[in-house]
């Protein structure tokens, strides 16, 4: 349990650093929420008055610790722009972002694992070379461009899916999934490339191990060797990358939510940045950072589940 306590402590320290850093960065951004709210005709007196009302005339550190105190009680403040509680704004939009990221991850893994397995059957073969080229092609493509291409292809040309917008589950399961296919594909089609290359590389290493030789010597068919013996020990780097890629996925979600007009956390953040709604940006970034740290913490835990050696080492220490 020592290991768990250490991890928890690390989590707290990381979150403190992230929130402080975010607060500093957000506060040194040029721009002024008072001007955003009051408009171009505001008098300097009105601007100063509104800044005082919002508490923005106090020193940065005082404001940070005020915010931190409230955040610890679950109150991330209210949007300067429209008075909406930040926690409420995040909670309302979180399901959309989570669904987007989960579906993107499923699509990415759904492509990456079979392609990697097929590639290592004949390394350097035609399939391996084509899949590598395709991976690099997708990797090089910016997601805002891929999103538009997918819209033109699947919405306009083939008229299969809606171009933009989100349908909640309350409007029907298929309507909901239908509205998320193109956004998830946009993220997933870029995400799978790294996963596939990492898994392929680890599979090739694993396939040189003695136990694989033994399995083959026993006469097991190739697919059983790959699926039952090689895949699990080759998936550690994949899992690490999955955890670390959450950051990239969140970054991608910000753009994809904007293109497809999805009411998610990414779009909330972007709106907050454009409007210099510092408290909203602070709350959203802190929430995302906490999510990122927690996911990676869980990934760390997953090693122990997958590999008894890790489990043993942790509990022995």
């Amino acid at each position: 349990m020592h290991w768990l306590a250490r991890q928890m402590l690390r989590l707290v320290v990381v979150l403190f650093c992230v929130t402080l850093l975010t607060f500093v960065i957000v506060n040194i951004l040029p721009g002024d929420i008072a001007i955003v709210i009051l408009g171009t005709l505001a008098t300097p007196q009105d601007i100063a008055g509104l800044r005082a009302d919002l508490g923005l005339d106090r020193p940065m550190l005082v404001r940070y610790f005020d915010w931190l105190g409230s955040a610890l009680t679950g109150d991330l403040g209210r949007s300067y722009r429209n008075g909406e509680p930040v926690v409420q704004a995040i909670v309302d939009r979180l399901p959309v972002s989570l669904q987007l990221m989960v579906m993107a991850q499923v699509i990415a893994l759904g492509i990456a694992i079979p392609v990697a397995l097929l590639s290592v059957r004949r390394p350097g073969g035609i399939f391996d070379r084509i899949s590598a080229s395709a991976a690099f092609g997708f990797l090089a493509m910016p997601n805002f461009m891929l999103g538009i291409v997918l819209i033109y292809l699947f919405s306009i040309t083939f008229d299969l899916l809606p171009a933009t917008g989100f349908s909640p589950m309350s409007e029907g399961l298929w309507e909901n999934i239908e509205s998320m296919i193109l956004p998830s594909l946009t993220l997933g089609l870029i995400e799978w490339t790294v996963l596939m290359r990492v898994l392929r590389s680890d599979l090739l290493t694993t396939l040189k191990e003695d136990f694989i030789l033994l399995a083959r010597a026993k006469g097991l068919p190739q697919w059983r060797v790959l699926l039952q013996h090689a895949l699990r020990p080759s998936s550690f780097t994949l899992i690490t990358i999955l955890g670390l890629n959450i950051g990239g996925l969140i970054g991608g979600a910000v753009i994809v939510e904007q293109i497809f007009a999805l009411p998610g956390v990414g779009r909330l953040l972007l709106g907050g940045i454009f409007n210099r709604d510092l408290i909203l940006v602070q709350g959203t970034v802190s929430f995302i950072a906490a999510g990122f740290v927690v996911v990676n913490f869980l990934v760390d835990m997953l090693y122990a589940v997958l590999d008894p050696r890790v489990r043993y080492a942790r509990f022995r220490n």
């Binding site: 001007i35 709210i37 171009t40």
Partner: protein, 509 residues
């Protein structure tokens, strides 16, 4: 009138009820249906004090629920709305609005003159810090009886009825009692007198409104339901229209507008409003405090060629900030014209090297505009350094006159007085060019106070001659707004201020 397509012009004219025999054969509006509008941004909320400013997306949504006292047809003529008429006293310092009887808020309470007074007095109260009050020139509003609202102005004012007729954050009337009682909740749950009733607002996703069955204009609205969806990416917005997910979009991307004009399934609505995109010069700072330098800049700037490049030829350029929609047409506006050789001579006469810093927004649009300015100035021997800053920083620098050259916009208003007065009167707190000219002040006062429309127009023409000769601001392009609709959408009026209003819109199959 704006440059509407011919067909749209016909439909819109019919929809606003203009009596014109030539239009008699236009199809009659059809009742029913759902219209989805794609706009650029999410809505700030519907309490002007809380929201502060409205984007054109918010005005589009707010016009579903709220109304103005008067309205404008596409030619700029005043029509009754919540007020049946507005009558001035002898010198225009007091205006009496006769309120339409029988109008009710969506919650069933009657709409009275007191509601009008409460709305405007709330905005005028300095404690509420509503910045738009600077435009209004209203001292206070009183309600001597249920159906008369009396506007007491800070001085004679001819522009009030038209100023109150264009839907803006200031002029769309909200119920103060309900707004105050509900606080922040009201901002997200609007109640108005308008043609549609609020149903649902899913932030960043959609706003849903349904037909107001108790609307005072019994024939309208024609639509049963309107959905407004914020679609921030212009390509995706356009794709949604082509796919048919939405039936109307506001659009500003030239490529999409050019494409839409060639698409048989789409109509492009176009409105050139008053005001302009402008390049203000700080006349109080060296070297711009020398008229020769300012004139050289004006003559060295190929505004028409630049606007053609930047907008693919869609944005007209005028030599004044009036545009045909303002109704002010000047035979001689004193424009200096493009003459780089003469500009060089003026600079030679000035005798010192000229270096400028142009403060622009750190956006592709801001940078592009600055780059063409920089290139033109280089040709006449002026060095321009581009300083990209955040938009709010630009505003701050402009208001504190901490700039040499910047970028700005005179917004599209039905009457040019509020903007012209604010920008060029020597006593105006937002005259950020620091321009001080007694004759200009005199002409601005005529424009503001004279009840004789011809006298006002003449004053504005005299004014522009001085401003063009003195080169205070450069007019770099007109205010132009576009909306693209599916072919079956009819009855959308002029896109004043970029807002899409659908009170009279209707659909064919």
């Amino acid at each position: 009138m704006g440059l509407f397509t011919r067909r749209f012009g016909l439909v819109a004219a019919l929809a606003v009820g203009l009596a014109a025999p030539a239009l008699a054969q236009a199809p009659a509006p059809v009742r029913g249906g759902q219209l989805t509008i794609g706009v650029e941004s999410d809505f700030e909320g519907f309490d002007p004090v809380r929201a502060g400013v409205y984007s054109n997306s918010t005005v589009t949504a707010a016009s579903l629920f709220y109304e103005t006292l008067m309205r404008l047809d596409d030619k700029g003529n005043l029509l009754p709305a919540l007020a049946l008429s507005m009558t001035p006293n002898e010198d225009g310092s007091v205006w009496a609005a006769k309120i339409r009887p029988g109008v009710k808020w969506h919650d069933g309470t009657p709409f009275t003159a007191q509601a009008v007074a409460d709305h405007f007095n709330r905005l005028l109260d300095p404690a509420n810090r509503f910045a738009g009050r600077a435009y209004l020139a209203i001292e206070k509003v009183e309600a001597p009886d249920e159906l008369t609202a009396v506007f007491k102005m800070r001085g004679p004012n001819a522009a009030l009825p038209k100023t109150l007729a264009q839907p803006t954050v200031t002029t769309l009337i909200i119920p103060v009692k309900q707004a105050t009682e509900k606080g922040a909740d009201y901002n997200r749950n609007p109640i108005g007198t308008g043609p549609f009733v609020f149903k649902e607002w899913r932030a960043a996703d959609r706003l849903v409104a349904e037909r107001n069955p108790n609307y005072w204009d019994k024939d309208k609205p024609y639509l049963d339901r309107v959905i407004v969806r914020p679609l921030p990416d212009s390509d995706a917005r356009y794709a949604s229209l082509v796919k048919g997910d939405v039936q109307v979009i506001w659009e500003d991307r030239a490529e999409n507008i050019v494409k839409a004009k060639k698409d048989r399934n789409l109509n492009v609505l176009q409105w050139v409003g008053s005001g302009a995109l402008v390049i203000p010069l700080n006349t109080q700072r060296e070297p711009l405090n020398d008229k020769r330098v300012r004139q050289a800049i004006s003559m060295g700037l190929n505004r028409k060629a630049n606007a053609a490049v930047l907008s693919q030829g869609l944005r007209p350029v005028y030599d004044d900030p009036y545009a045909p929609s303002s109704g002010i047409e000047c035979k001689d506006n004193g424009a200096l014209g493009y003459d780089p050789e003469k500009a060089k001579k003026l600079l030679a006469d000035y005798g010192k090297p000229v270096k400028l810093v142009q403060t622009v927004t750190a956006t592709p649009r801001g940078r592009e505009g600055a780059q063409v300015f920089q290139a033109d100035m280089k040709k006449i021997g002026i060095d321009v350094e581009i300083k990209p800053v955040d938009q709010t920083q630009l505003v701050k620098e402009a208001l504190t006159r901490d700039f040499l050259v910047t970028g700005w916009r005179i917004i599209d208003l039905a009457d040019v007085d509020p903007q012209m007065f604010a920008n060029f009167h020597s006593k105006s707190p937002i005259n950020f060019s620091g321009y001080n000219n007694a004759e200009v002040d005199r002409l601005l006062l005529i424009g503001r106070t004279s009840l004789d429309e011809n006298k006002r127009k003449a004053a504005y023409c005299d004014l522009i001659k001085i401003l063009n000769d003195d080169v205070v601001w450069l007019w770099s392009g007109s205010n132009i707004d576009f909306a693209i609709t599916r072919k079956n959408v009819h009855g959308i009026p002029a896109l004043r201020g970029g807002a899409v209003q659908v009170e009279a819109a209707w659909l064919t199959k």
